[in-house]
Amino acid sequence: MSVVVKIPTQLRAVAGGEAEAQIDGATVREVLDGLFERHQELRVRIADDDGSLRRFVNVYVAGEDIRFLDGLATPVADGAELTILPAVAGG
């Protein structure tokens, strides 16, 4: 299954300048691992040593925060959009 990963501007420099990447995977974890394999520098930027995402990283599948789904185990459908964004607040 192929997923479109949307890469935030702050990370594009270490993703070959790409704004999007087509990655295969059945879960968020598999997709992110695929992305990290393609762009190794990305891993240290947004993931902790234990493989979990840093606390200021938000990941969305079809617009929904994966923390409301199954986290990294959230399944992704073929053609789904996975968005990585920095956590920012305001009000």
């Binding site: 990370l11 968005t83 607040a89 009000g91």
Partner: protein, 429 residues
């Protein structure tokens, strides 16, 4: 000017003072760093500079991140006489009111209300927008924008109008009517997004990468957040260069809560505070039960917040994924404070309590804050001798639904007989 650079709060990487908000190395948030080594150590002179400044937040220009317009900026234009209000709406210098009747009701001795509803668009957001928009203009932006739960919408739209800048305001489509009306009237481009604030925020974070706009609370966020420090500066100045013992502050994203403490800390370190007995006041955060990710994490002893889907009448605090949550938790714990949550009924009671004892009509967020103060007092957390400041961030006229049905009006014919029969008999007149 003392403003130096941007720095990642997590890994301390340094960045220039541009429209940046995220660390490229670790994705942590960026904040403004100051170098006060050239700030005067002559306390008398420093205080006189502040007191001689304009009657708005720019009296604290030495501690704010606007380079070109600040006093003493090398080669920069001077601040015009009569204050720096041409930079936008004159935010700040709101009343700090001693609330003896509220204190008596709660069994406390000294309670002060910082009434930030007395800002140009009736909430504390004018402080942060004033700073963000000033910096946005310095950086050459011609369009300002925001993701808002309402109060920020009002302020961005009004600042756009005041400064002749284009503005785009994104709000949850189901926002209170009063806040929608008080935004659209300024002629902004108002966009209602089907979803909650966190959906609006996500959309705007994506848009921020696509448009060359100054989103005040996204790419201008490091500057924007600094505006909240002026609440601390004013409280300290109004108390005669002293710190309160405790502050009760609402928490949505956690930015206001942490920046008030940052303001107190900055002044204590510079020696502007008279003989502080402790480095910071006890900081108590206030949330609504229907959106309490920070209060829940505090109660559970967690260091990070689990996001929630908001469901509360306190819509201005309805941020389910608070980015400054971890810092708010740390601050509450380090100062011996807490983060508490109250129910919608307690919020309504809080609005009424503040109104009936102080004459101040606050919005639902202020109801949350007042209700948390009442809860702390009831729980015995507050020493009766403490000097407590209650930070009221917004105006009751913006959330009228919260008080609808909370009292009765007697309607009578315009005759003395009708008055005697229907009013005088039920009330001792």
């Amino acid at each position: 000017m003392a403003v130096s650079h941007l720095q990642c709060k997590e890994c301390k990487a340094e960045y220039p003072l541009e429209a940046l908000y995220v660390c490229e190395r670790c994705f942590g948030p960026l904040e403004v760093v100051y170098d006060h080594s050239r700030t005067s150590r002559d306390l008398g002179e420093l205080r006189r500079r502040i007191q001689g400044g304009p009657q708005n937040i720019w009296r604290y220009a030495d501690f704010l991140p606007a380079t070109a317009y600040g006093r003493g900026a090398p080669g920069g234009p001077p601040v015009p006489s009569g204050g720096a209000t041409r930079l936008g709406l004159p935010a700040g210098c709101t009343p700090l009111i001693r609330a003896d009747r509220l204190a008596a009701r709660l069994g406390l001795r000294e309670v002060w209300v910082k009434n930030d509803a007395a800002n140009p668009t009736h909430s504390f957001k004018d402080r942060v927008v004033s700073v963000a928009v000033t910096r946005a203009r310095e950086l050459g932006f011609e369009t300002i924008a925001c993701a808002s739960t309402g109060n920020l919408a009002n302020s961005v739209a009004a600042h756009g109008a005041a400064l002749g800048l284009d503005s785009y305001v994104f709000i949850p489509a189901d926002l209170e009517e009063q806040k929608v009306l008080a935004t659209g009237v300024y002629g902004t481009r108002l966009v209602g997004v089907k979803g909650n604030y966190d959906d609006v925020n996500r959309l705007c974070t994506e848009l921020c990468a696509e448009r060359d706009w100054a989103f005040v609370n996204i790419n201008l966020r490091p500057y924007y957040a600094e505006g909240s420090k002026t609440l601390a500066f004013e409280i300290a100045e109004q108390l005669g260069w002293q710190l309160p013992d405790r502050c009760v502050v609402p928490i949505a994203s956690g930015s206001l809560f942490t920046k008030i403490a940052a303001g107190f800390r900055e002044w204590t370190e510079l020696g502007l505070i008279d003989s502080p007995t402790r480095p910071l006041p006890r900081m108590n955060g206030a949330q609504a039960d229907g959106c309490s990710p920070v209060a829940s994490a505090f109660a559970d002893g967690h260091e990070v917040c689990r996001p929630v889907k908001p469901d509360t009448i306190a819509k201005s605090l309805a941020i389910g994924n608070p980015a400054d949550g971890p810092y708010a938790l740390e601050l509450a714990r380090n100062t011996g404070g807490s983060v508490d949550a109250v129910s919608d009924d307690e919020i309504r009671a809080g609005i009424k309590l503040l109104a009936e004892t102080t004459g101040i009509f606050t919005e639902t967020a202020g109801g949350v804050t007042t209700a948390v103060l009442a809860k702390l007092a009831e729980r015995g957390d507050i020493d009766p001798d403490e000097r407590v400041v209650l930070v009221i961030t917004g105006e009751g006229l913006k959330t009228l639904d919260a008080v609808r049905g909370s009292f009765e009006t007697t309607t009578i014919e315009p005759t003395l007989e009708a008055f005697e029969n229907s009013v005088a008999q039920t009330v001792s007149v």
